[in-house]
């Protein structure tokens, strides 16, 4: 891996150029916004915009970004692919009348989308220019009914309600993700436990006597028993211990392996 500031030393101008370019791309609210900006450079009246040069401008913009090895968000690339396709259809004569119509529809859809976003952008400015509450119109400054409170009206907005539900759902989610308490006794734990216990307890001992104390529930007990039984089998296989059962379903006895059978 080359030292990080190599590129810096080689071509600092290029680097700062990349940065400004990246910021420019980053300043757009998506590909339609970028197209709108390019279209504005071309024409004041968007309704008369020429689609082919617009598509070419956009593609040039994106390919420049690619040359500079800039990360380009996926939606910009999808739009680029779409425009490249549109461009090829606009340039090549369509063999079928139906397809020629579709090409026109595509160009029209793009134009409409630009006009639509432009209209909403203007609408948002118009909205903000209205005599807004707290800016050009004011509400009553006081709620002066004083003193005695006859009735308490509880207040909550829809936002409060949705936010509360989101919190509950989120909390529930957190529990599911984080709290996974397992009372299951693992075989590894049981092997470790038994190995140390049988060294201290010479002779044959009932396997049950090796179970840990304070097993709260039947479930815990079964889990510990199963783990210890499996562990004892494993220890026999490894030559660490011997097992003995005198009759069917009878108690199982365990002893360390250096202990010779009588």
């Amino acid at each position: 891996m080359p030292p990080i500031n190599d590129t810096f030393q080689e071509d600092p101008r290029n680097n700062s150029h990349q940065l400004s370019f990246f910021l420019v791309l980053d300043g757009y609210e998506g590909p339609i916004d970028l197209l709108l900006e390019l279209a504005r450079d071309q024409k004041i009246d968007l309704a008369e915009i020429a689609i082919l040069p617009l598509a070419e401008q956009y593609l040039a913009y994106i390919s420049r970004a690619e040359e500079l090895d800039i990360d380009i968000a996926a939606d910009y690339l999808v739009m680029a692919a779409w425009l490249a396709y549109l461009k090829s259809r606009l340039l090549l004569p369509e063999p079928e009348p139906d397809e020629a119509l579709e090409t026109l529809d595509m160009a029209e859809a793009l134009k409409q989308q630009l006009l639509r976003l432009e209209a909403m952008r203007k609408a948002s400015q118009d909205l903000m220019a209205l005599p807004r509450l707290g800016r050009a119109r004011f509400r009553s400054g006081t709620n002066w009914h004083p003193d005695r409170q006859i009735r308490i009206a509880h207040q909550a907005s829809l936002y409060d309600l949705l936010e509360a539900y989101g919190q509950i759902a989120g909390r529930q989610d957190a529990e599911v993700l984080t709290i996974t308490p397992s009372h299951l006794y693992s075989i590894e734990e049981a092997v470790a436990r038994l190995s140390s216990l049988i060294k201290d307890n010479k002779g044959w001992n009932n396997l049950l006597s090796f179970l840990p104390p304070n097993l709260q529930s039947a479930f815990d007990y079964r889990s510990a028993l199963a783990a210890h039984f499996s562990a004892s089998l494993e220890m026999v296989r490894d030559g660490q211990a011997h097992l003995r059962q005198d009759q069917q379903f009878g108690d199982i006895y365990l002893t360390a392996s250096e202990q010779k059978q009588p």
């Binding site: 009553s140 400054g141 006859i150 949705l162 539900y165």
Partner: protein
């Protein structure tokens, strides 16, 4: 009334309306021209006082040189009975209400299971008193517990036309209202919820809410 007096009268009217506190004469005069004499000030306040005469529900009062609009005493009695102070709904109240809205019909025990804590008696009482919830019937399970749902007032208050307008979890998540990371595919929908057979939304159990 001269145009000038009317002009300032309107401004002072709006000002006193929008100010949380009463206003001193000095503060009011800042809204008159710098060279205004006492005569203009007096004329404006007199005109405003006249505008809020006995035919109005309000009067312009001066107390210690401070001006404010006050409700006329003779209609105070009509307002008194309905005097309310507003207080935000508690967290427990909000959560309980949200669970009822989303999971209705739902029993108290189910609400507690979802919230993970018991509901104090007062919580449902407050929601009932606000008229936002109502008993919906009884669940066919041991003890036949009352189930709860939301009322028309609930829809009114929260500006919803229909209870199904409430955005789903996925929508909440995308709106940033569900702040945890992973998607919950089936959030705590009690396994048997679809199979719950409610008694008809009967009147006979309307009094029993605990």
């Amino acid at each position: 009334m001269s145009a000038d007096i009317n002009h300032y009268c309107r401004i002072i009217e709006a000002l006193l309306f929008a100010s949380p506190e009463s206003m001193s004469a000095r503060a009011i005069r800042k809204y008159l021209p710098d060279d205004a004499d006492d005569a203009l000030y007096d004329a404006v306040m007199a005109a405003l006082g006249a505008r809020y005469g006995a035919e109005s529900g309000l009067e312009l009062c001066q107390m210690d040189g401070h001006w404010a609009f006050r409700t006329r005493p003779d209609i105070a009695e009509h307002l008194e009975a309905l005097r309310e102070t507003e207080k935000p709904l508690s967290r427990a109240g909000l959560e309980t209400l949200a669970i009822i809205a989303y999971h209705q019909p739902v029993t108290r025990a189910e609400i507690e299971e979802i919230r993970g804590v018991t509901i104090s008696k007062g919580t449902l009482d407050i929601l009932l008193e606000m008229g936002w919830i109502r008993p919906k019937g009884r669940k066919r399970s041991p003890g036949r517990p009352v189930t709860w749902g939301t009322s028309h007032e609930f829809l009114d208050h929260f500006g919803l036309e229909n209870i199904t307008d409430l955005p789903g979890l996925d929508e909440l998540k995308r709106s940033g209202l569900l702040r945890q990371g992973a998607v919950i595919s089936d959030f705590l929908r009690p396994a048997d919820a679809d199979g719950d057979e409610e008694d008809a939304d009967g009147e006979e159990d309307g009094d029993d809410h605990d």
